[in-house]
Amino acid sequence: MPQWPVADFDPVRRLHVIAATAPGSARIDEAVLDAPFDRVWSVAADLERTMPLWIPDVRTVALRTSGTTGAPLQARIHGHTRLRATFAIDLSPGWCLMQSRLVLGGMAAHPETDRTTRFAFLGGLRFPGARLLAPALRPFTGSPLARFAALLDQDIDQEIGQEGKADG
């Protein structure tokens, strides 16, 4: 059989499809981070510990499993302001999509090189008219990628510090 070419695709492109087609208002930002994929995703996927450290208006994240095979993970998220919502979450390596009744969030990552990772963050609102309100709601949906990059550096520094102590 002839080997017909198959187009490349990755989770970051997939998140762009979600951002471009989601009802309401969704904003996506991406950056190439100076860390390998496994490192980036171990920080990003540690939702309870790291989401409050870098995502706007997230104070606490409490995960719970639904107990049903194949059903999405659930998280109760409280914000610094009025955010109190239960999110359904699809989480797999390089991919996280989460939605509550009013809010849509997502992350995607794929290796750019052995040492760098393309990482994207999506924040959005799921109600009609959200596009008109988007500028006013930017603190909730704005890009926190700089904070995520700083968190990544901090985690790496801490790990190096711990390894140094162990070696000493």
Binding site: P2, W4, P5, A7, H16, A20, A22, D90, Q99
Partner: protein, 168 residues
């Protein structure tokens, strides 16, 4: 083309209703097929063409009435988007048309990508739909919005180009 999997109708209805986790899962389901359609037509621009095709699919999803017809409906949108994208791309290098080997011809197995690169996106689309997807002339003509005679002449001229390319 793929057989519709169990639970497809419910998934399509949920995605049409604005459930973004359902959209994500539907993306998972159709992306491999869209990559196989866009790869041979858009070649090096396959990833961009796949992304644009998927955005077009999900923007039009509310128009899909019969979920069982999903894959045929996706094919029509994806092939048109891939041709449009490849035609627009500066890297598109339509060459003189000649002849393609018939299905099963060992010449086709050698390096189909190289031979495809010598054809225009429209001719690649005809070849894909006739030889890989198994559509007849009438179906191919309807999908590409051209006369059946155009499909016939494009296919025979494309096959001639293939033979000439390999005889050089």
């Amino acid at each position: 083309m793929q057989e519709p999997p169990p639970g497809l109708a419910e998934l399509v209805r949920a995605a049409q209703g604005g459930d973004q986790l359902a959209v994500g899962r539907l993306l998972d389901l159709i992306t491999p097929y869209v990559r196989r359609l866009c790869g041979p037509i858009a070649l090096d621009d396959g990833a961009d063409a796949t992304q644009e095709a998927l955005i077009a699919v999900f923007r039009k999803l509310p128009q899909l009435r019969d979920p069982a017809a999903l894959f045929g409906w996706v094919r029509a949108i994806a092939v048109r988007e891939a041709v449009r994208h490849a035609t627009r791309s500066a890297r598109s290098q339509p060459a003189e048309l000649g002849e393609l080997p018939a299905p099963g011809d060992p010449q086709l197995a050698a390096d189909i990508r190289d031979v495809l690169s010598r054809l225009s996106p429209e001719h690649r689309a005809v070849l894909l739909l006739r030889d890989l997807e198994g559509l007849d002339e009438r179906e191919t003509a309807a999908l590409l919005a051209v006369a059946p005679g155009t499909v016939k002449s494009r296919l025979s001229r494309a096959r001639l180009s293939f033979r000439k390319a390999w005889q050089q």
